[in-house]
């Protein structure tokens, strides 16, 4: 199965481990993610101002790129890109006047957008088109004894008309993690906000929130967090440095992209997992569970 793939800027830089592990895993599962030519930034943060159309240009231009490939679907990995593209798509599908204005703004594009493209997240492809049962059959190294806490954050789930699962009680990450053999930890903070871009100007706020989220998971017995957003990843992983400075009893916990664990469980070369890019090094944990060094 071939599908157009929108990487997003962060997957080419700070979250290279996310992209590498996703591409390798998808290929192993028979999905060819074909990177869009000439894609631009997704628009980073959907603009909530109703007449702020200039910030809808970036996402809609990307959907034009998908159309140029004669594809009718595009898959993303980053929760932020997923959210921004899908929400902008919804906006123009429901407001013809805005769509016309956007097409007029992009008059140099040969292709006009008409709301045809479906925006999907890789988790949806794994669930609905590969199926978690099929994934379970392809798992070579079940992650048994690894206690993982799924973290959805906001952008995969809210608002509900954009979310890929139940906004209050999501199960997609849990079901996915069970299919690769992990023990899934339930905890009340899995849909809390990580404080998002406050990380640029208000580190204290992020530290408080991330500490609450991570501590809740740890208290329920989690050994690692699993997520799909590089920004959540930054706040929950990299900010553990500041969390430790503020909360001296905080021990730290590795944070994975879901595709890193998928690649690991499929028995792929550990290089594609890029564990060296994780801020809190997970390799000691994986080794202690005999999950690495086996291929």
């Amino acid at each position: 199965m071939k599908i157009s793939y929108f990487p997003g800027c962060t997957l080419k830089t700070m979250a290279k481990d996310f992209e590498d592990s996703a591409l390798a895993s998808a290929s192993c599962l028979g999905i060819e993610l074909v990177e869009l030519p000439r894609w631009n930034c997704c628009g980073t943060v959907y603009s909530l101002t109703s007449d702020d159309l200039i910030h809808q240009v970036a996402p809609i231009r990307n959907l034009i790129r998908v159309k140029e490939q004669e594809d009718n679907r595009v898959v993303t990995l980053c929760s932020m890109c997923y959210h921004t593209l899908k929400r902008a798509n919804k906006l123009v599908r429901e407001d013809r006047e805005k769509l016309d204005k956007l097409n007029n703004l992009m008059y140099r594009e040969d292709v006009k957008y008409d709301g045809e493209i479906e925006v999907l997240h890789l988790l949806e492809i794994l669930k609905n088109e590969v199926s978690f049962n099929q994934i379970a059959k392809k798992v070579k190294i079940p992650l048994k004894e690894l206690k993982v806490a799924p973290y959805y954050g906001c952008l995969l789930l809210r608002p509900p008309e954009i979310g890929l699962d139940d906004a209050e009680n999501p199960t997609i990450l849990k079901d996915f993690l069970e299919s690769i053999g992990a023990e899934v930890i339930d905890y009340p903070y899995q849909t809390e906000c990580c404080a998002s871009y406050h990380t640029v100007v208000n580190v204290d706020l992020v530290v408080e929130r991330a500490h609450d989220i991570l501590s809740s998971a740890i208290n329920q017995g989690a050994e690692a967090i699993v997520l799909s957003c590089p920004l959540c990843g930054f706040n929950l992983d990299n900010r553990q440095k500041e969390i430790k400075e503020k909360f001296s009893d905080f021990k730290g916990i590795p944070v994975f992209y879901f595709t890193q664990l998928l690649a690991l469980s499929l028995g792929l070369d550990e290089k594609v997992c890029g564990f060296e890019l994780n801020f809190v090094d997970p390799r000691h944990l994986l080794k202690s569970k005999h999950l690495t060094g086996r291929v």
């Binding site: 800027c9 080419k12 830089t13 000439r38 894609w39 631009n40 930034c41 628009g43 200039i54 910030h55 240009v57 970036a58 231009r61 703004l105 992009m106 140099r108």
Partner: protein, 253 residues
Amino acid sequence: MKKEKSIMEKIAEANKTVTKGVDEKEVKHWVTIYIMGKPCRVPAALTIMQAMEYAGYKFIRSCGCRAGFCGACSTVYREKGEYKLQTAMACQTRVEDGMYLVQIPFAPAEKAIYDINEEEYDISVFFKYYPEVARCVSCNTCTKSCPQDLEVMDYVQAAIKGDFAQVAEGSFECIQCGLCAMRCPADIVQYHLAQLARRMYGRYGSLEEKNVKKRVEEIKKGKYDKEFDRVMSLGGTEFKNLYTEQQRTREVY
């Protein structure tokens, strides 16, 4: 038989200043252009640059190679009856009747000072010197303003992805006129950013050019010393003749 003019002669002729020397009796077609609002009747065959000189302006800025290479003669104009502001190089654009225009002598933007040997070959270098690049909203205004028809937005987006090669290749023909930066609603200085990318790519990313290395070694070993000595010992007139001959026999453009 009339001798065919050499390409250099044609270029020289095309680019001569026309403040003097236009025989108005020979001009069949005239247009009126508005230079900074002032109506001026000028021969229709002229470029914007030539027309301004014809109208009496003497360039001390906004003028350079007169051949579309140097990027000094940025112009903004509106065509008659058109609402869109257009951009061009004055030396490469023919006047049109009813055109309103002005020269932009300089695009004000701070150029970062750095030592490429001390910079990390990493996306962070873009954000360090030109952090406003992250403000790009993909509106494509830069691309529309580029007189070189570069895909400016695409290379700005490549910078945000940390793709030095794409920025370098996509901006290779940039003439640094600054029109992109003058039009950008996000205040990005695209041409400075691109220059940083090309330097970094040249230093760290691109493959080493073997022929250059070979030639540098040849120079160091003194292969061309004799020839250099000969040229350096020439008198003024001899040197001038040699240069003219070289320009005549080798097509530099």
